[in-house]
Amino acid sequence: MRNRIFGGIGVLFVLPMLLLTGCWDSVELNRRAIVSGVAIDRGDSEAERYKLSFQVIVAEEISGEKSRGISPVALYTGTGRTMFEALADASRQTARFLSLGHVRVLVISEKFARAGIKDLLDVLERESDTRLNSLIFISKGQPAREIMSTMTVFSKIPANDLVEKLETTSKQFGYNFRMAVDDVIRGIQIRGGGPVINGVFTRGEWTPASGSNDSLKSIEPRSILRVSSLAAFKDDKLKGWLTGDAALGTVLLHNRIKEFPVLLKQQEGGYFSFNIYQSQVSLAVESSDPEHPVFTVKITQQAALKEAPHPLDLTSPKVLEELSDRLIKESVKHIQAAVSTAKELGSDYLGFGRALQRKDPRGWKKVRDHWEDVFADCEIRFDADVVIRHTDMRSNSFQIH
């Protein structure tokens, strides 16, 4: 009898526990403020070392029913000596808990990037709420918070618009690619090198009005977010911006490009356009003397002819062969531009050191401490092959008789 009573009481105590598993940490959805993007700026004083701006989604404005016609996102700025202090400072200004689980974009200002970004990454990988998948950008020549406070056309949430822009440029004709938190951390740890991070800036001058819905009311928005340029780092410090051929070559070496256009100039004037839709670049190392390694860049590409206004006989394999040869030269030019820029910046963000480490770990150990010098005068050879698979829907182009 006594046992039964004890048992009954025990069950009464245990049952509610089973019903409440996991509730201890619950925060109701309507008490959360979902942060979609974070801008990280450097303040002027030590107490404002970190200036974080959180782009918070105003859920009511997105779903529509109860919307008041205000901005769909709000920006809260906090400052502090550490990232965490700045977060706490910003949290005190909001009515809801800042929820960092859905941060899609982190924008770091150029000023900060030039001073070094190592310290701010620690909290991003340590905190269990934040995700390694958040994309990192460097705001080119302007404060990061301006990027986070620019209204965009294609998404109510500017951070999402930025992500979509990156996806679009990375798929078509652009040299930017997804660069997440862990990619950057791994990049910083490359001996003698560093990460490459996407640049972002506003086209058209940014004014406070760019952050208003009114900015979108005209056909031509006042300022447009643009994902372009690559920020090249040495360790955790920004060294320079890559554009044009150097940027393209860098991405080719990282094998992160889907397709891109290449133009060939005709001697009679005018251009040929090609679309390179398949590109594979690999590095081979010959390191009998690790102090003077010889790298062979192997390029295999497939191209499609897009524009050919000249009366060339495009049905002849010989003509296409000649065009291929010129495309090969073009590809080599891209990579050469990338390599010479990297040597100028004194940073091996292209991954040559890692290729040596994979091939010859012992030799790598001998040169790793002065890899910058070895990299600066290492020899690079090319072994390229480009095939023009087809000329699309027509063979020869039409001419005026």
Partner: protein, 366 residues
């Protein structure tokens, strides 16, 4: 004792879940850097050698648990204290696993939930299953083995489709020679999780087939070693050796890299499930081993000691260390300095004594 028999398939899945346990989610063998997968395989080979010893003892005493045949082999006055030491070992191991599990849960998701509540809930569920009996535990393991393997398959396929796997990160193999791998094996991998198989000496009397049983368990060990090795290789190829080395729960960030068109993402809750399932089975097996030992040594019915023993495990796990760092440090020391005696030296002595005695007492022809 010995009346209930457990089928071979159930034993296989119980062994697999026991081996995967916490080892699947932690940074196992990362002392060897990006060659962790190799050190796990070597650890398994060493573990199998130890297991042949346990299997030999089992074949000689198919109906007795470890604590019973120590008394038979070493005599009452040495054998009983040795048995008692093993009971304490199992309670300690169960408590350590409970602490591992509850702290990792607190680190990963439930930041504000008191550790005691997490531990108590996990332990109570284990105690409940053991109240139903070891055969229920083994059958439960079949269900959950499918869940864990399913999650593993899903995670792997999704990671491949997300395009985050870069096999270059596993290269170069053996960058610093063979030494770091061997050191990692000696410091950790042959003991954790393979040496912990010593507790199966308490459960093997339940095996339904004396002949096939040890083979099935050995096969389960190899299978789980392959899974663990694969998982660590996966972690390294997704995150890179350095991030894995610095993460206490590397599987979590690995799985969080899954993102397919931004639709399928944030599936890291699966890792939390794997963690809970693993800790549950590992702890329950140690718990069961301790209970079987107590009931055998002190002749107390198995169920009577269930809740007292649960309380001891719960409080051991809470009082074991102030912080997780202290707990891990302690674990490393135990793994290297204490467990080898209990998992290798004592069983080896028993094997030698049994073999020598057999050799001399066997009837000789002529």
């Amino acid at each position: 004792m010995g009346k209930v028999k457990i089928g071979l398939v159930e034993f296989f899945s119980l062994t697999v879940l026991f081996e995967l346990g916490t080892a699947l989610v932690v940074n196992l063998g990362m002392g060897a850097g990006r060659d962790a997968w190799l050190s796990i395989l070597l650890g398994c080979a060493a573990g199998l050698m130890m297991f042949t010893g346990y299997a030999y003892l089992y074949r000689k005493h198919p109906n007795q648990p470890f604590t019973a045949y120590t008394r038979q082999i070493l005599g009452k006055y040495i054998g009983a204290p040795v048995g008692l030491v093993y009971i304490i070992l199992y309670i300690n191991l169960a408590a350590r696993d409970l602490r591992d599990g509850s702290t990792m849960l607190a680190m990963a998701t439930m930041h504000n939930t008191p550790l005691f509540i997490l531990s108590a809930l996990m332990l109570l569920s284990g105690a409940y299953v053991l109240h139903k009996g070891v055969e229920v535990l083994s059958r439960t393991s079949m269900v959950f083995a499918f869940v864990v393997l399913g999650i593993g398959l899903f995670g792997t396929v999704m990671l491949i489709l997300s395009g985050t796997i870069n096999l270059h990160r596993l290269l170069p193999v053996l960058e610093n020679g063979f030494q770091p791998v061997l050191r990692s094996v000696i410091h950790q991998n042959y003991m954790f999780p393979f040496g912990e198989m010593v507790c199966f000496t308490m459960l093997m009397p339940y095996l339904s087939s004396v002949k096939k049983g040890p083979w099935i368990i050995a096969a389960a060990m190899v299978f789980s070693a392959l899974l663990l090795s694969f998982t660590m290789a996966l972690n390294v190829s997704v995150l890179g050796a350095d991030i894995v080395e610095r993460s206490p729960l590397p599987l979590m960030p690995t799985i969080s890299k899954i993102s397919i068109s931004d639709i399928i993402q944030r599936v890291d809750i699966f890792v939390v499930m794997v963690l809970i399932i693993g800790v549950f089975f590992k702890m329950a097996v140690f718990f069961a081993a301790a209970l079987i030992g107590i009931s055998d040594l002190f002749k107390i019915p198995y169920r009577k000691m269930l809740y007292p023993c649960a309380l001891i495990i719960l409080f051991t796990s809470m009082l074991d260390a102030r912080s997780f760092i202290e707990h891990l440090d302690e674990g490393g020391t135990l793994l290297y300095r204490v467990y080898p005696y209990l998992m290798i030296v004592v069983p080896a002595l028993l094997v030698i004594v049994t073999a020598v005695r057999d050799h001399f007492s066997a009837p000789r022809p002529g």
